[in-house]
Symmetry: C2
Subunit: 364 residues, 2 copies
Amino acid sequence: MRQRELTIPVGDLELECGETLPAVEQHVTIYGEPNADCSNVVLAPHALTGSSRVAEWWPAIVGENALFDPNHWCVIGINALGGCYGSTGPRTISLSTIGAASTVEKDVLNAFPRITVGDIVRAQQRAIDYLGLEHLALVIGGSLGGMQALQWAVDAPHRINHAVVIGAHDHHSAMGIALNAVQREGLALDRIRGLRLARKIALLTYKSQELLNERHGRRSDRLGQSRFDVEGYLEYQADRFEGRMDAATYATLTHAMDSFDVRNALIRSSNPPRVTFIGISSDWLFRPEDVQAASERFRLRGLPSQYIELTSSHGHDAFLVESKELVVHLRPLLPSLSELAQIRDCSVYPLFMRRRPLQFERDL
Amino acid sequence: MRQRELTIPVGDLELECGETLPAVEQHVTIYGEPNADCSNVVLAPHALTGSSRVAEWWPAIVGENALFDPNHWCVIGINALGGCYGSTGPRTISLSTIGAASTVEKDVLNAFPRITVGDIVRAQQRAIDYLGLEHLALVIGGSLGGMQALQWAVDAPHRINHAVVIGAHDHHSAMGIALNAVQREGLALDRIRGLRLARKIALLTYKSQELLNERHGRRSDRLGQSRFDVEGYLEYQADRFEGRMDAATYATLTHAMDSFDVRNALIRSSNPPRVTFIGISSDWLFRPEDVQAASERFRLRGLPSQYIELTSSHGHDAFLVESKELVVHLRPLLPSLSELAQIRDCSVYPLFMRRRPLQFERDL
């Protein structure tokens, strides 16, 4: 499957906190080609630890024969502002701002400005402008990705047809804020071991009691160490995580989650987008009843909003690990392939392609 | 209210792990006097961070005009083996075994042997022997205290009439084990700051989403600091906790919780005690459905077991903070005061009193 990687310059970005980030870049991965009216263009922001390579972490959603097959759809994955997979974030500014040798945890964790989901989406809008795309058919995401999808519906209602918000609602809860705070407290104790600890705590918030009971129960460690199996599982996951994330990015993006609250945001549009909220039955971090309540709040504000519940024992993680079940719910919400305009009948395409050589690109 | 404090020598204790703890002591606080047939004697083991002074942390349950009024009932609070309020635990052995100056976190956390809830209850049985009490009317506890109450029913069914198990069931779950493990990992990073972190994580597992939303929501810190109110609340609770617990005790007692599983324990008794399981509707750590399932398992094994649900938005903590509602459920389960034998008509009492001067005692 062909995918293009681009790092797009979007200029200086004034943040909600008042600071300005200079020369911001947005890293995108593009699968497929846009059609004439952009009716096949999907933006897929990632959750806390994802990247722009959506097909890698959401294979039932993006890929050959997946929900969004690049032969018919154009899917844009985008690394969030503040992330560590190619977009401007703590890792890209750390050398100049705080010096590579700084070992003061607090400096490292707080060197990047405090960004919001609104800032993340503003940078994304500029990247979409750069690509010459006026309009998006759909913005879809889970967890922090779902917050971004909803922020698009609020901030750019005229630019999207449909936002799909999975395992997220319209504000981060007190429990969510507190759980992020204890995770960051781990990072402040030790940048490496604390990151492992934060990941373990987070994983437990993503899982359900049922799932852990079934998978691990009270069994002893499968490697024969003197610990319970579930403890070995957490170690394994921390090992996997250590190499692909850093403490400053983790702190930055969890703060962005904490900032999220669009309950009272004004939505200026005579033709607002459809919003689909999907709750997960066993999710205790973003509880299904809270997702449903958010859908109801949007409906009462006159927006075409609907709620769907994904039945799963996987907890919050279901948006990733039960994505095949998610597809069953999502497919009926999408235009059929025959409804999509033909890719070759494409006025946007030349612009889209003209922009391309401005940044590095490689086929993978 | 008169209360007596005793530290009782119970001799060397062979532990389930195979080690022997020498010259074990059990610290008890006694409210009221036992009657002739011990039908008014209640044992109240504590949860993870409690002490033998039950009236201090469970005032609706023990005290003047409380459920167990010392004018009619004799309540024995007991500091668990491995605890830090007067019974043998990491704090009492640390100086001799590892040296007061040891700064290797791992040594400090693992110096005390790995004890189980069975070990804790075996030491308690000896303390009760020492007091000259053949029989207990009731053992009642919440969380780790509930595990101890159930362990009494399993290990000494002939010695108790009734076990009341609140916010606990018949085994510690994979989620419970994993949450304890991440808390101990905090301790291993830093004995003081890690203990604060462990407490914060634990508190979040004791609370419900509803409660935190209602109490703190997304409000800013009430002291004006640049944090959310819920973060300030966690700091305040960590401040309060720091002085009354230590990392080694915390590690020891959470390991004891992890060990708990009496699902397959043999119960040898022709007249087994009644067991009342009380689940809390909003408890996500010890979920009400799991408490109910434990009650059902005990019933299927032929034990007189019943399940009651406490409706509360407080989460696991409800066993402490909603104890007035708990009293409403508990009072009908107890003998009436007129049913209790008169305190002065007392054959046990002299023995009980004779033992008393062997250890220090003070009236408070």
